[in-house]
Symmetry: none
Subunit: 418 residues, 2 copies
Amino acid sequence: MNAEIIAVGTELLLGEIVNTNAQFISQQLALLGIDVYFQTVVGDNPHRLRHVLETARTRSRLIILTGGLGPTMDDITKDIVAELLGRRTFLDEAAVAKMEQMFSRRGTPMVESNKRQAMVIEGAAILPNETGLALGNALLADGTAFILLPGPPREMKPMFEQEVIPWLHGSGLLDESVLHTRKLKFAGIGESKLEDMLRDLIEAQEHTTIATYAKEGEVLVRLATKTADEQQAVQRLAETESAIMSRIGEHLFAAEDISLPEALLELMSERKLTLSAAESCTGGLFAEMITSVPGSSDVFQGGAVTYSNEMKERILGVPHELLEGEQAPGAVSAETAKAMAEGMQDIADTDFSIAITGVAGPGHSERKPVGLVYIAIAEKGRDTQVEELRLAGDRSTIRLRTVNAVMYRLWTRARQYG
Amino acid sequence: MNAEIIAVGTELLLGEIVNTNAQFISQQLALLGIDVYFQTVVGDNPHRLRHVLETARTRSRLIILTGGLGPTMDDITKDIVAELLGRRTFLDEAAVAKMEQMFSRRGTPMVESNKRQAMVIEGAAILPNETGLALGNALLADGTAFILLPGPPREMKPMFEQEVIPWLHGSGLLDESVLHTRKLKFAGIGESKLEDMLRDLIEAQEHTTIATYAKEGEVLVRLATKTADEQQAVQRLAETESAIMSRIGEHLFAAEDISLPEALLELMSERKLTLSAAESCTGGLFAEMITSVPGSSDVFQGGAVTYSNEMKERILGVPHELLEGEQAPGAVSAETAKAMAEGMQDIADTDFSIAITGVAGPGHSERKPVGLVYIAIAEKGRDTQVEELRLAGDRSTIRLRTVNAVMYRLWTRARQYG
């Protein structure tokens, strides 16, 4: 089946935001075995949106729209799709009631225009929105599916995963018999290194395709094979997986599509290990990524963001001599990283305490170069390990790479527990 | 004049990369006063690229293509545009000679296929590429301009600035009366509320357009007017701005497109105010967002992520009686928020110390509902202020809304300093 993605929003045409929704949806559809042939962006303009939809309809079986579902007069997507299909729209009273409740809980009156977000196209399935007000819609018309999603990625993404994927599976549009997939997640190895190590497998692929998708710090390897024979599928996938594992198996952190923080927390929770963190240059990013996973409180007890030297001394008890003075190694040093981790360990009494100190840039600090970072892991009953990293990238990249490096090391350490 | 941007590349349709080129070019064209009506992505497929070009040609005066200029058989953009216009392509011998020189300097033999990158469409201006091998092309055909640029952003961007802009100015296509814009950023007010308060201005807009763009916690209002008369532009924008300000001026945090954390840090830095943070349910997100701004260390001294009750006691000195026991208000309470903020203040000795404790979900905590959050701001020489929030959304939305609420309150407080 072939699909196209249409983003509606003048802000995209003005270059005020980048169309990450198209990327996300394209990736998701690729995983479902659906080919995306076109991505289009059009403004909040009825005439041009109609024109784009008319073209799309002649060439695609699945049309996914993002944006234009908000409360304002500019938000026209539902009206135009309904008009194109010759259908009415109506207000979903249940959604309005929920909206009214929410506003009253907040103690603010609901503005009338918000009701526009509860509109539904006749015959469409309602896709609830857990993180925002605009309802999504999904419908089939003359064999073509139209899916309408809100523009903000934080609303669109969970909706896609929780609502659109099940709807597509139920729609009868997917050729379910054939596509079998397996997902493997790797860390501690870059995408090009990983591809290099699998190159001959990727090039030789016949019935089983191997695709790699990289995020900062993680690589997803997806195996896919098309066959109606279940047993054959299992065998093909197992063969390819074992060939991959014999080469890069030590980097595998999950045999499903979960993130490194999720895998780390699952592992530590299972083994009843606890964790605390002392951060300087990452400024709370490690704690933030760990605690963004629901249930992280079983493992993560807390941490300190000791940005200034005073805070390193006051909260973590880092000796003043390490931080200041002619002969001092300074805040960005192996010695300070070690003292931070052990200071955190003393306060939190956790199985693992990590520490991070470095220069995220822009501009050096203590005459040390941007990208120089020290990470330490204190572990109960073992010596604290310190490592020096030299990272490339801008401020946010260096921060993210540092956190990923620490998580990967923690994961390999936690794995050694029975 | 109206334009459209076409990106050619199957990797975009697979979601392997995000189309930042479209954003960059859209921004550049907006600055030139050119309206972009469509952005399209199409794969390396002759049939579909031809189809997209045929559609574009009927509706746009300027068509900018990126990608598909490389050395492989997949790179078809020049061939298809030439075919569409009934023109030949030829090899630019000067570009080939330069290429050969470059390879010989590197000491590697030039692969024959590289010559494809030196192809030029008959009648086109050659756009030299300083950072790569593929030549750009620019031409006018029947009043429509076609500009072909390479896909890699580090080649495309300098080429756009150094070659495309001068070519456009020389093409006679530009209406040199320039677009004048003004951007205002608001917080502490939702997009629909804001639009409601400006509704009559938005509806009455004639020569000056008012557009709103919302992100979580922030609304950008963009004013734009087209006129060749500089003074008239200044006057129109000032009039519209003052009408807006008289209604929602107290929510303005910046008269430029910067984020709330950036504005907050700029304000606090200017007024030499310092900050620390004690976080529970936001798990370090406040510290992370603050420290993601370069230079934040002038203001932000550090913080604590006290996820467990023990950590609240040990680091912040929150009394045990507040946290545990039959009669205790518990970790999620106004009392604990206040004690956290004041505990942080004692350690950090900063002008402001904020504290956050609440239930981000999923699942309640201490039998308190998801979305219940207490925020406290301790300020030197003033009583600590505590506020109860009732927020909607999933875990990450509640966390983000909490942090934005604290930042907005901090910003209004910091503003009161001379």
